[in-house]
Structure formats: structure tokens, C-alpha cells
């Protein structure tokens, strides 16, 4: 937002690009969970574009992004976040878009030292070189700490009106925001990608391990964002809705997964990921019963539903809390 504004202040026409990897947080959990229904659901990139009065192009890169996540040349951050490869990939995509749409150069909001992996003095030239953007990539917020780019050398943009921000502190950005008259800002980077989240990353790795291959579909990515995940056996996992909003969202997947819910008592919807036989489903029903209002009952009736919608009921005894090993929780 600040980088864009800084360039627009020089009378330069800017349009925004927002890439959707599938792992973007963007209020998904808020959208799903009823208890978060009072939280704002705005898409930050759209909001920023509207505040700035620029066009925004949101680009679906879900399929192409798989290669970035599965084979990152520069490795992962603290979790499954391939931040440097991600940035290189996105800048490369931005360059392609720039060429196809008659634009002259690319700007990003990067700041040297802002992020420990992808925004370091050493990584700035790597992003520029490996993305192919080279010196058409301008970082207005820290430009004065970097060699002059082609747009600066050619006078398309005035380097003197760019900035020299460095480090993790966001105080200079807040000051600049105040100078520009901004009173509200979007979530800072790092908090907007599920791959930086430890719990999410563990679930993703568990999914790959269980399937014996490192691959995923968009539905996998979405379902890792919801529910309590319990893996009683290596070949199947339960996704247990934690509240009504999640149950409603997960009910949209009944045609893709075996599902179950408690028939005799109020309780959550469960999806079964993997291949579960009758014994497995019986165990899953006992676990499910633990999370419903029948947890203290001697027995409960559970409805099992296959992907074609065929239903049957079984009667099970709910497991006690200490009968569900901690190791089962993903």
C-alpha cells in the first residue's frame, strides 16, 4: 500500500496484482466459523486497491504454486513456508503480466531486513535475478539502500522521492502511512499465509506422509484449515467440525468423503479422509461420540454416510478422554 502510494505520488499509473496460492488466510476461518461471524470479512488486497483507487488483478496460481511448495530451491522457513522461492515465483509471474499488459516495471513493498528469510539484503538481488525481473524490480520503500534500478537510472521514477527503510521495526512505515493520510492498514506480511503456521504445516506434512506422496488438491488445502484432525490409524484421518459454521462448510464435502454424525445426540459432523473399513469406522464413531453431547452416555447411535449418500446407523460406546492418545491428534 505504501510502496504503491509512493510511486503514485510521482504521477505514475499503477495497477495491483494479487496472487492466490490457496494458502492465503484472507479471513477464510472467519468466513467458515460462526463464532467469528462478527469479524470483518474484507479481502485486504481489494480493500487496499479501493483505498488507493487502482485496478486490482487477482490471479489464481494454485496449480503452478505446487512446484514452488513441493520443490523449493531455497528451502523452507520455520514451517512449510518457502518464502524466498514464493517471492521469486510471484515476481516472475508479475514480470510476465507486465510484458503481456504493456507496463514498464514492477514495484513491491519489500523492505531490507523486514523478514528473516525472504527480505534480507542478500536475498534482494536473488529475487530480482532468479525471477527474471532484474533491474525492472523497484522496491520504493528501501530503494535508497539498493543499487539504482533501470526506472531510476532512466528517470522514469525519481529515486530522491523513494525511501531508505530497513529492519523489522514498522515504525517508519507507520510514520509514512500517517504522512500519506492512511488511518487503517492491511495485515502485515507473514500473518497472511497458512504455510507460516506451525499447526497447519504439521497437518500438511501428515497428509503427505499418510498418502505416501507429496501432493495436494485445493480441497485438501481448504480442509486443513478447518476442524480438529485426528489420525487413529495411518490409513485414515477424521476431520471433526469444532462448531456449526465448520459443520456447514464441511457438509459441502459429503460427496467426496465418507461422513458421519451422531444421530441420538447433538454433535459435530465428521469427514473421513483415507480408506476406512468397518472396524475403523466403528472406532471413528466412538471418537466422534466423545465430541458430542452423548459423550457421557452408555451408548450413542451414529449415522454413517458414504459418498453416494447411502446411510446406515451403528451403535457405539463413546471413548473416554484418556482412551484417545495424544499422538492421534495431528
Amino acid at each position: 500500500m505504501l510502496a504503491t502510494k509512493a510511486v503514485m505520488e510521482q504521477g505514475i499509473h499503477v495497477e495491483g496484482i494479487n496472487f492466490f496460492t490457496g494458502f492465503c488466510v484472507e479471513g477464510h476461518t472467519h468466513a467458515i466459523r460462526k463464532r467469528d461471524s462478527d469479524k470483518p470479512k474484507r479481502n485486504n488486497s481489494l480493500w487496499v486497491a479501493e483505498q488507493l483507487g487502482i485496478k486490482l488483478h487477482i490471479i489464481d496460481i494454485i496449480e503452478e504454486y505446487k512446484q514452488v511448495l513441493l520443490n523449493p530451491k531455497h528451502g523452507y522457513g520455520a514451517n512449510m513456508n518457502p518464502c524466498l522461492d514464493c517471492k521469486i515465483f510471484m515476481v516472475n509471474k508479475a514480470k510476465q503480466w507486465m510484458l503481456e499488459n504493456g507496463f514498464d516495471f514492477i514495484i513491491t513493498g519489500e523492505v531490507i531486513g523486514q523478514r528473516p528469510m525472504s527480505q534480507r539484503k542478500q536475498t534482494m538481488p536473488i529475487v530480482a535475478a532468479e525471477s527474471g525481473a532484474d533491474d525492472l524490480l523497484v522496491r520504493p520503500l528501501c530503494a535508497k539502500n539498493l543499487p539504482a534500478t533501470l526506472p531510476e537510472r532512466e528517470g522514469w521514477i525519481d529515486r530522491n522521492q523513494l525511501f531508505d527503510i530497513t529492519g523489522r521495526s514498522r515504525k517508519p512505515q507507520f510514520a509514512l502511512a500517517k504522512q500519506f493520510g492512511f488511518t487503517d492498514f492491511a495485515q502485515p506480511a507473514g500473518g497472511c499465509c497458512f504455510l507460516t503456521d506451525e499447526s497447519y504445516s504439521l497437518k500438511l506434512v501428515d497428509l503427505w506422509k499418510a498418502r505416501g506422496k507429496r501432493d495436494y488438491e485445493l480441497d485438501d488445502v481448504m480442509l486443513l484449515k478447518v476442524g480438529r484432525h485426528i489420525r487413529p490409524k495411518p490409513h485414515f484421518k477424521m476431520i471433526i467440525a469444532r462448531e456449526d459454521g465448520e459443520s456447514q462448510f464441511m457438509s459441502g464435502y459429503k460427496k467426496e468423503y465418507i461422513s458421519m454424525n451422531c444421530h441420538s445426540h447433538r454433535g459435530p459432523l465428521v469427514l473421513i479422509d483415507g480408506t476406512a473399513d468397518d472396524d475403523d469406522l466403528h472406532l471413528a464413531a466412538q471418537i466422534l461420540a466423545r465430541y458430542g453431547q452423548g459423550r457421557e452416555a452408555e451408548q450413542v447411535e451414529v449415522t454413517l454416510r458414504d459418498q453416494q449418500g447411502n446411510e446406515r446407523n451403528i451403535v457405539v460406546k463413546p471413548l473416554l478422554e484418556n482412551e484417545i492418545p495424544k499422538e492421534w491428534f495431528v
Binding site: 492466490f20 468466513a31 487502482i54 486490482l56 488483478h57
Partner: protein, 74 residues
């Protein structure tokens, strides 16, 4: 002028916006597009996308946990 419907149920934002954006690219000025969604976030996001791109939102309505947005392409 044509009237088209786009089903983006189950998709979470920004996918409904992306699919709307892609669909609108195939339409002509004056065409009307009805977008059917389940993510309540679309009630903010699709109108915001329309405002940014100059399209007109003719109607937004919520009915039985579904959200419908009718827009006219500029």
C-alpha cells in the same frame, strides 16, 4: 445483452472474486451476471471488485445461507 449465472458455492474468497473476474472477461458491456455463493465474504468482496473495475452491482441478497450478487458489466 445476455444474462448468465455463475455457481461458486463452497468456494471461499477470493476464489468467487477470481471466478467472477474471469467470467466477466468473457461477457460484453451491458451483460448481466448472477453469482451464487456460500461464503458471506462475497457480500463485501464482489461489490468492492465491481467498484474498482467500474461494474454495476444491481442486487445483493442473502437467502438460506446462500448469497447472490447480480452485476452488470460496463
Amino acid at each position: 445483452m445476455s444474462q448468465e449465472t455463475l455457481n461458486v458455492r463452497r468456494m471461499l474468497c477470493p476464489l468467487p472474486v477470481i471466478r467472477t473476474q474471469d467470467k466477466v472477461k468473457t461477457l460484453q458491456s451491458g451483460d448481466i451476471l448472477t453469482v451464487e455463493c456460500t461464503d458471506p465474504g462475497v457480500m463485501q468482496d464482489i461489490p468492492a471488485w465491481c467498484r474498482i473495475n467500474g461494474h454495476t452491482v444491481l442486487e445483493t441478497r442473502a437467502e438460506n445461507s446462500e448469497y447472490v450478487i447480480v452485476l452488470q458489466v460496463v
